[in-house]
Amino acid sequence: MGKTFKDHFSQLADAYRAFRPEYPEEMFRWLARVAPRQDSALDCGCGTGQATVALARYFRVVYGVDPSAEQIVRAVGHERVRYLVAPAEATGLPEGSQDLVIAAQALHWFDLERFYGEVRRVARPGAVFAAITYGLFTLTPELDRVLFRLYRDILGSYWPPERRHVDAGYRTLPFPFAEIEPPEFAMTAEWHFDHLIGYLSTWSAVKEYTVRTGNDAILSVAEELRDAWGDPGETKRVAWPLSIRAGRID
């Protein structure tokens, strides 16, 4: 097996758990409803298991697979969730076993040809596949201006090339299943100023910037962000553009 997975994340597992946004509950309810049965679901590239555990509210058993043992060790436990260290392209799960397969903020990392083959293999007849992604969040127009400069102008060349698929809501990726149009779901959180800084620290481009330049990219805009925020104890509503591509597997 020549290909090793791209592990941008291992050391960030704890920060991920603390600062990553939560997917809307309605999204999981919808996924469970479009699945042919609610027996077994699979979360590919599950990281620390945020979406995996959410699916366990609707399915008898949920499997979470991720090639990073570091992330799996830190994953959230649940009585109906089972974790495996495995790549999405070769999960170790039996054929015809899953009613729903999801990839949450992960599809852009996969070897798609092999991955879609694996999805077809593990899917039961009529099972549903869904790829979920969220791009740059918005806060207030003043903060958004500074954040967009950080995201694009300062960090632009430090994002992995796969990031463009996230920015495009995965419309740029091949999708071989009969698409199901999802409803619109809002993904929001209430943040203090510290949450904003903590979240930015989970960006892979921030880490890459430090590795390549020795500097902290967040620091270069921190003062502007603080000024634009106002009272740091005041909470603000943050919203992410959530994109879902879902389809039924024949």
Binding site: M1, T4, V61, Y63, V65, P67, A69, I72, V73, E79, R80, R82, Y83, L84, V85, A86, P87, A90, T91, G92, L93, P94, E95, S97, R121
Partner: protein, 57 residues
């Protein structure tokens, strides 16, 4: 059957997709066809061909 046992009982070899068998009191999973033993660390199967141990005859 508990879900942990169910998990070990259903898994397949990521290389050949054939069934693997629990071994070493649940601390490993063996694919007889590929002669590979996948470790189970703290109850978590590590289904990576690179981390599997080759087993003899």
């Amino acid at each position: 059957m508990s879900l942990s046992n169910e998990l070990l009982a259903i898994l397949v070899c990521p290389a050949c997709k054939g069934r693997v068998e629990p071994a070493d009191e649940g601390r490993g999973l063996v694919c007889r066809a590929c002669r590979l033993r996948y470790p189970v660390r703290d109850g978590i199967p590590v289904m990576l061909v690179d981390e599997a141990e080759r087993i003899g005859d």
